[in-house]
């Protein structure tokens, strides 16, 4: 995986993106060749110019009927239609290969695009294995994961360049996509349909890991909230339930609202605010204090916590691994 360009899709790491890549290269190379050839013909034709000047130089060259030249058009069309036809057939073949969702997926996810974060629900069997998280998707390497895409507010588009092409999340309909990572790694996906002020900061992270690691993560997510361990986190828990709990959920506590991202096991996530910040106690505090400075337009209201209250909330949230 090319870490220099985390969103570049010319080096893929997933089955679906892999299948598209040869066709992309074919079309890219044909396109570049066409430009080079046409450019070469043009430059050669221009080198035959009789004069370089203005109106006098133009008038000085006599007008002539010249050869008809329609064979240029005929031959040009004939030659062009060959790579076009190849592209057409290849497109249909690739489309058939990648469009159908897997019949028996190893895992099924419901992903909802919100302004400006991703809600992710693991549709587990039994029902007790169903849980919700945000902005971070863990998948086992080498297994097909079905992604059901739903719209909550405006249109967004789910795209993990190195794993799979785009599919929109549209209110009122459910679209299907699927992921299968070939190589373990962390793959970033930006929202790719304009959705308002913070369209630029709406990243989902896909963590592809071995089955064992995935199972461990999955089991961890099913754990209830970690109880406060000291007086600071105790005050923090109370503050969270009272203030943050109006919008957020931490499973197993009084905080059970769904307006904002589910924060169960928040401390175990890699990023905050849909990929805007790395997740550390410091950035978490900065985010709660100054969400609107960091991500103008976002919907989290300022809580006006005192310095001490903030420390308490952080102490509590850092327990939620």
């Amino acid at each position: 995986m090319n870490t220099a360009t985390p969103l570049g899709y010319l080096d893929s790491a997933g089955t679906r993106a892999d299948a598209i890549l040869p066709l992309t290269w074919y079309m890219l190379i044909v396109s570049i060749l066409v430009c080079v050839i046409i450019g070469w013909i043009l430059v050669r034709a221009l080198r035959r110019s009789r004069a370089n000047g203005g109106d006098e130089e133009t008038r000085a060259v006599a007008v002539e009927e010249g050869p008809s030249g329609t064979h240029w058009i005929r031959n040009g069309l004939l030659i062009s239609s060959v790579p076009l036809l190849v592209a057409l057939v290849w497109t249909m073949v690739t489309l058939a290969a990648v469009s159908g969702p897997p019949a028996r997926p190893a895992l099924t996810l419901d992903v909802v695009g919100h302004q400006w974060w991703w809600e992710v629900t693991y549709d587990g069997t039994p029902a007790a294995h169903t849980f919700t998280t945000a902005n971070e998707i863990h998948i086992p390497v080498g297994q097909r994961v079905l992604v059901r895409l739903h719209g909550a507010d405006v249109i967004h588009s789910f795209w993990v360049p190195k794993l799979s092409g785009k599919t929109d999340t549209i209110p009122g309909q459910t679209n299907l996509s699927w992921l299968e990572a070939r190589v373990p790694g962390v793959y970033t996906g930006p929202c790719s349909e304009y959705c308002g002020e913070q369209h630029a900061h709406m990243m989902v992270q896909v963590v592809a890991q071995s089955s064992a690691q995935f199972d461990q993560w999955f089991a961890q997510q099913l754990q209830p909230a970690t109880a406060p361990t000291d007086s600071a986190s105790e005050r923090g828990a109370a503050l969270f339930e009272y203030r943050c709990g109006a919008c957020h959920q931490i499973r197993g506590t009084q905080a059970g609202a769904h307006a904002g991202p589910d924060l169960s096991h928040i401390a175990g996530r890699r990023t905050l605010a849909a990929g805007l910040l790395p997740n550390t106690p410091g950035t978490l505090a900065a985010w709660i204090e100054n969400a609107h400075g960091l991500k103008p337009g976002n919907q989290m209201p300022n809580q006006n916590l005192t310095g001490g209250e903030l420390m308490d909330v952080i102490a509590y949230l850092e327990l939620q691994r």
Binding site: G54, D55, P67, G69, G100, S157, Q173
Partner: protein, 645 residues
Amino acid sequence: MKSADLRIPVVGADSIAHQSRLLELWEGKPGLAGFFGSVDHKHIGVRYIVTAFVFLVLGGLEALAMRLQLAGPDRALLTPAQYDQLFSTHGMTMIFLYASPVLSGFSNYLWPLLLGSRDMAFPRLNAFGYWVYLASGIFLYVGFLTGNGPNDGWFNYVPYASAAYNPGLNEDFYSLGMVFLGISTSVGAANFIVTAFRTRAPGMSLDRLPILVWGTLTASVANLIVVPAVSLAFLMLWMDRQFGTQFFNTVGGGQPLLWQHLFWIFGHPWVYAIVLPAMGMVSDGLPVFCRRPLVGYSLVAVSTVATMILGFGVWVHHMFATGLPGIGMSFFSAASIAITLPSAVAVFAWLATIRLGKPVITTAFLFFASMILLFVIGGVSGFMTASVPVDWQLTDTYFVVAHLHYVLIGINVFPVVGAIYFWFPKMRGRLLDEKLGRWNFWTMFIGFNLCFLPMHLTGLLGMPRRVYTYAPEMGWTTLNLITSIGAFVFAIGVLLLFVNIARSWSKGKIASANPWDAPTLEWSVSSPPPPYNFALIPKVASRHPLWEGRLPAPERSSLDRGLLLDSGKETIGSTALDAHADMILEMPEDSLAPLFLSLGLAGAFAGLILKLWVVTAIFGVVLAMALLWWLWPRRALREREPAHG
């Protein structure tokens, strides 16, 4: 018109007396009333071009502000909200207020001159079309300048454009402004179609039309078909926002995708409508500098029409990621790949014309010839996005931004600037400076490619469109800096065009009637042309009336003997296919009615945006009275007839 039907038009030769009689009939009044009342297609054409260039400059400044913001990662020159209004307004401005009107301007100016006629078929409607364009442009910019510019992209997807997510006036300005502007586009298109089929000089059969006429005619037919779709969509959006209708709201049984279908069934043919006339300019201008006729005239004309017909069947390629069924998408994918072929016809025709001709390098020629390469680059990137699976990666990245700018700047701006170098001498009577022209061309060409060629790579590296900033670790920093530098170089190139025009306006070399020794009728009249265009309506016998004698042609056009038509403000009406003269058309005098009708409309729309229904009602009365004044039968027009009959 009726009283003139039975009169046999007199064929004669030109004379000073004849010309002064025509001048008296055709020359506009001096002063403000003359300025605002003019229905002369040449005045209207120039107004369209100048206004379009004002909008080009505004849209360009918006682009430069965005390029400053994106020149480096995490820059905070603009707030996200400002950035969103800038990119939306930039798109709206360039696509709706520059690209289409500038071509309407050239076609308005040139068509009657190309067709051997004295004006467009409906001169007052023509003036009305311009005033509505100006008024709706100002209307949209009043929104922008008061902080209420569009903020959902030019494509304006719902639900983000709906009142729930976009409560300000932004989308109301955009919706109503687009409905308003649609009136201008529609009446302009109707006027072009009737002009093309009814006002050609005798003998100018369809197979003798300049390709520019084919291009604008095709675009006009498309506009008449598709503009209603977008006007309807914007009206429905406005009603959803203001009156609680549920066309696009899922809660009430509406469908967000309905917007996308209505928008793109308009939007994609529209793309062809803003390039086909420009391609026509190249098809007509390029051969002049190759000193030979265009290779494959008939094929190019037919492919112009074929492009548009296929163009009606490709709109879904803007929606490949919306979850539509695969079978349906395959059809649109195939159509989008197939549309490459008619476009390729023009490319090979131009290449062959240069290769088999004797090219003379002038500034106009450089703009036309370089457009071929830019067209091909924009074409092949379009071919890539036509493939559904590939598009799932490419769409909504900077690759598409690169693609659409190669198409719109490459196939619209470059030919338009070439056309200015080519036709400015006709319009102004003076040539633009060729030396400054070379600087102009090379600065624009290098700046453009520096700006937009690296953008393909930015897109392949995954940068999404419409983001107000990006993080340094994404690997897009250097490419974005190059693009920003290129944007400023390109802007300097455009500035050089204005410098050249300003310098040559009154100091440029005097142009003869036909400075380029070009073949078409506009070059047979003086530069600038007299108000009546042609003292004698010519009889056309070939595609290249001014090159006859030098090209093998069995018949000669008659330019020094023709229809006098000097018993009133008249021109000739002819049959649709073969252009046999069949009617004398009486042309209207200058009139202030179109201006007042437009003002009435502008006031009515202002009332709608402010929800002051009384204002709308009052201006509705103004509108009705202006219409009544316009349509009132004119006794004066009829009474002049017997005097000469």
